[in-house]
């Protein structure tokens, strides 16, 4: 049996309400809200969150491959999956790959992972879908797009959701696209792309699956599939014969938005959170064709319940105060020039200490047992030299020791909350606090780590993106 061993999801804490957008542009834009990645988040950091969520209770050393699916990997040339691998502290001797260029890349990666496991090349493969698509201001996409990620650990043992069959369709179709150099999305007329694209191609794959395995809509407890908006989603469900009230997993348009590559996987995570052993789930994704799967939930689903997943992350949110903050977070405008000297981080520096930066390894002195970060040659407590064992700190929680709130820091979202965190089990981490409510910070509050961008590299002198673990209030 091959299938999903574990799952996880992540939704950024910030939400932009369609009412706010409506007031900016002076037109009605519907109800609900969408999730917005903060200034220090991108597809890579979103992916890390979902991977960490999915790995709860699993040994990270058991993962033999990582496939990252995203249309918004931050590098045009350079793999992003390798960064997610490093941050997740998976082994170096594994296969990593980016799957990109289509919102269907989530299931492209899924199928490739299944093939690898079936072929015996890997026992466990992490598939993570993550997107952070930038809609053009005042475009049809702006109220719709959202940011988020979902991850599935696939394997051949301890399977919680077996994947029993699939059917794929490849189609040459221009619905939504970006060419080299396009910042924003093109789209052909929406009536055409709904009639001939979404509402035809995805059902074509599902019907193919039904026919191949001699099934009908009635055989499924839930249907989880991609669509660009609620109306199209409902039309597809109806055409396939699913009962809207009982069989269709509620899409995320009013709460998260269209998260692109991650939409179908995030919806599947939401479905799995409610699923019972024996449930059959239809799972289908779309983009330049469609992939459809038959999933069957097993008894093992009960072993992977304690995830933050969709429920946890949906309930934990902060409203974006205004559109200006959103513009800053997504770096949409051209900003005032800055006379301050450009900062520059040598990549050699990051590379030398990659385990310390990406996987947040500190060290424990074998002489005095004190845990310390960053990496040292000589113990900062007892001055013993070169006698440490490495210890991963990224999954530890801590308590706020002291803090300050800098209104003038060189940071995109001000103020910058600078924090000193004492970690459970020892170790002190000097950091900044992200995803925080400035009016709700107090000494002693519990904190955790999150993998984020730091702005001393790509925005300034070095040209590459720097990542580091920051502190945040326990998310949920």
């Amino acid at each position: 049996m091959v299938g999903i061993v574990s799952y996880g999801a992540y939704i950024p804490i910030y939400r932009l309400s369609r009412d706010t957008l409506a007031s900016v542009w002076g037109k009605p834009l519907g109800r609900g809200e969408r999730a917005v990645a903060s200034a220090d988040e991108d597809s890579i950091t979103l992916a890390v969150e979902a991977v960490v969520d999915a790995m709860r209770g699993f040994d990270r050393a058991t993962v033999d491959g990582i496939y990252l699916a995203s249309t918004t990997t931050p590098y045009r040339e350079k793999q992003s999956a390798s960064i997610v691998r490093a941050a997740a502290d998976f082994r170096e001797d594994i296969f990593s790959a980016d799957f990109s260029n289509s919102v269907r890349s989530c299931t492209n990666a899924l199928t490739a992972a299944l093939h690898a496991i079936k072929a015996g090349e890997a026992k466990r493969v992490m598939v993570v879908a993550s997107d952070c698509r930038l809609p053009a201001p005042n475009s049809d996409f702006e109220p719709i797009f959202g940011d988020g990620s979902a991850a599935f650990l696939l394997g051949s043992s301890d399977v919680a959701v077996s994947i029993d069959g699939s059917f794929s369709v490849s189609s040459e179709f221009h619905d939504v696209w970006r060419k080299e150099g396009d910042k924003y999305h093109w789209a052909w007329e929406d009536r055409f792309i709904k009639d001939e694209g979404y509402q035809k191609i995805l059902p074509q794959a599902v019907q193919g699956l039904f026919k191949k395995f001699n099934l009908t809509a009635k055989d499924f407890a839930k249907a989880v599939f991609y669509a660009p908006d609620s109306r199209t989603h409902a039309a597809i469900a109806k055409s396939l014969g699913f009962d809207a009230k009982t069989q269709v997993q509620v899409p995320l348009f009013d709460s998260v938005g269209d998260t692109g590559t991650a939409l179908a996987p995030m919806t599947l995570v939401a479905a799995l959170e409610e699923a019972k052993a024996g449930d059959k789930i239809l799972f289908a994704s779309y983009g330049d064709g469609a992939d459809a799967y038959i999933l069957t939930v097993t008894d093992n689903i009960e072993k992977v319940r304690d995830r933050r997943g969709m429920k946890g992350h949906l309930a934990s949110k902060m409203d974006l105060a205004n559109y200006g903050v959103y513009l800053q977070m997504r770096d949409i405008m051209e900003w005032a020039p800055d006379l301050r000297p450009k900062r520059r981080s040598p990549f050699t520096f990051v590379w030398r200490d990659r385990k310390m930066f990406y996987a947040l390894y500190g060290q424990k002195c074998r002489q005095c047992s004190q845990i310390q970060y960053p990496k040292q040659r000589v113990c900062i407590y007892c001055q013993a030299r070169d006698d440490f064992e490495e210890i991963r700190l990224s999954d530890k929680q801590g308590k706020l020791f002291t803090y300050s709130i800098d209104e003038r820091a060189r940071e995109i979202i001000l103020p910058l909350v600078r924090v000193v965190v004492d970690l459970e089990g020892g170790g002190r981490y000097y950091s900044s606090l992200t995803d925080r409510d400035v009016d709700n910070i107090e000494i002693g509050m519990p904190l955790e780590f999150t993998f984020r961008l730091v702005f001393d590299g790509y925005k300034e002198g070095s040209g590459f993106r720097n990542y580091l673990w920051k502190a945040r209030p326990i998310r949920c």
Binding site: R340, R343, S404, I405, R410, P415, Y430, N466
Partner: protein
């Protein structure tokens, strides 16, 4: 180990006004400070056998050549020193060691900084690429305030002060500094302020507001130094001062990462004070010192430094501040000059400026006679670079020369 005590004398000093001098460049600041010191000591550049020059980070200067070229010193040794904002103390220490070793007889120690050519406020040019570029330093370049503010938050919490009470306590320090600075003709900020103004000022890095922060600016300070036995040649009246102690404590740098680091006491400051008191033979600094010039880049810096130096018991600054013990007429006047807060803070020049305040007070020549202290015997100049958990602290103790033997 021999003590430096009384081996070296300061026989001439100069200090430019501190401020935003758009029309002066580093050469002007250096020449102005050196000229005042030369004239005070009755020397010229030709008498200087070696020099120490201190500045932190400047696009327009490197090495000791900036000093030699400004003053046209001809092929003598010039040592450039740098200890961030504690650079000034290091220039004095280098010069004193050069004299005590009898390698030179007459030397110049000069600190300067031209901060207002940067094109933006605050300190900014010192950090990029120099400190830990990814971890720690990078996200808050120019964030010295935020780093000191961590200590303020912790101090309030540890000693049971509400943020309001804590801010009010610190405000009294700034009110005192401005009052002192308002009567000091060379000070940058000469306006008097009230506690309410401080409380209502914009926040820079909570809990510190605008008036908790010193003003960075342009300026230079200079001293002509020789061995004590030669000092009578320059100042037959005996109105020179001697170095009682010159101490530097360079922290091991990762204090803020240690779980036993409290932020409310500064180990480097404690260590430098211990060295300095031992060298000077001081057992009760509060009683023996006539004044202390303390590195108050922020109000909280004055408070914690005074406690760390043992001038006030730990956690008891509030008693002193409320009772006025640190005011001009108080038990131990702190920053009677106005301090970095009001006099201004051109990084490399501040350490020398602190010694200059004692020098003038000792001679009875405090600018604006209302600031003149009585019976000035021994003073302390505390000059410190870095931030809590990562300091280098310099303490210079200066005082009345020993009687002529």
């Amino acid at each position: 180990m021999e003590s430096l005590k009384d081996k070296v004398a300061i026989v001439g000093m100069g200090c430019t006004p501190f401020g935003e001098f758009w029309d002066k460049d580093p050469v002007d600041l250096i020449v102005d400070a050196a000229t005042e010191a030369y004239e005070d000591a009755g020397v010229t550049s030709k008498d200087i056998q070696a020099a120490w020059v201190g500045y932190t980070s400047q696009d327009t200067a490197m090495t000791g050549i900036i000093l030699a070229s400004a003053l046209q010193l001809q092929f003598i040794p010039v040592t450039r020193v740098e200890n961030a904002c504690g650079t000034g103390a290091e220039t004095f220490r280098g010069a004193a060691l050069g004299l005590a070793s009898k390698t030179y007889d007459v030397v110049l120690a000069l600190g300067w900084e031209k901060m207002k050519d940067a094109g933006f406020g605050g300190i900014g040019q010192a950090y990029p690429g120099k400190w830990h570029p990814v971890y720690g330093a990078a996200p808050e370049v120019g964030g010295a305030v935020a780093r000191y503010a961590l200590a303020a938050t912790k101090y309030f919490s540890r000693y049971g002060l509400s943020p309001e009470e804590g801010k009010r306590l610190l405000a009294q320090i700034s009110v005192k500094s401005h009052y002192n600075g308002s009567r000091n003709p060379k000070a940058m900020l000469r306006n008097r302020i009230t506690v309410e103004q401080v409380m209502n000022a914009p926040i820079i890095a909570w809990p510190l507001g605008l008036f908790d922060c010193c003003g960075v600016c342009d300026g230079a300070s200079a001293a002509i130094m020789c061995r004590t036995e030669d000092a009578w040649h320059f100042r037959p009246n005996g109105d020179f001062i001697t170095i009682k102690a010159s101490a530097i404590a360079c922290g091991p740098g990762w204090g803020k990462e240690r779980m036993n680091y409290e932020y409310t006491t500064w180990e480097e400051t404690e260590a430098a004070a211990k060295q300095a008191y031992a060298m000077a033979g001081i057992t009760n600094p509060r009683k023996e010192l006539s004044l202390a010039e303390v590195h108050d880049c922020f109000s909280v810096a004055e408070m914690i430094a005074v406690e760390s130096m043992g001038i006030c018991e730990k956690g008891h600054a509030k008693d002193d501040i409320d009772s006025g013990a640190w005011e001009q007429g108080g038990e131990i006047p702190i920053n009677v000059s106005g301090g970095l807060k009001a006099f201004g803070h051109p990084a490399g020049a501040s350490g020398g400026r602190e010694v200059y305040e004692f020098y003038k007070q000792f001679q009875g020549k405090a600018e604006d006679s209302s600031r003149q202290l009585k019976d000035v015997k021994m003073g302390l100049a505390h000059n410190q670079g870095g931030h809590p958990g990562n300091f280098v602290c310099g303490i210079t103790i200066i005082g009345e020369p020993p009687s002529r033997s």
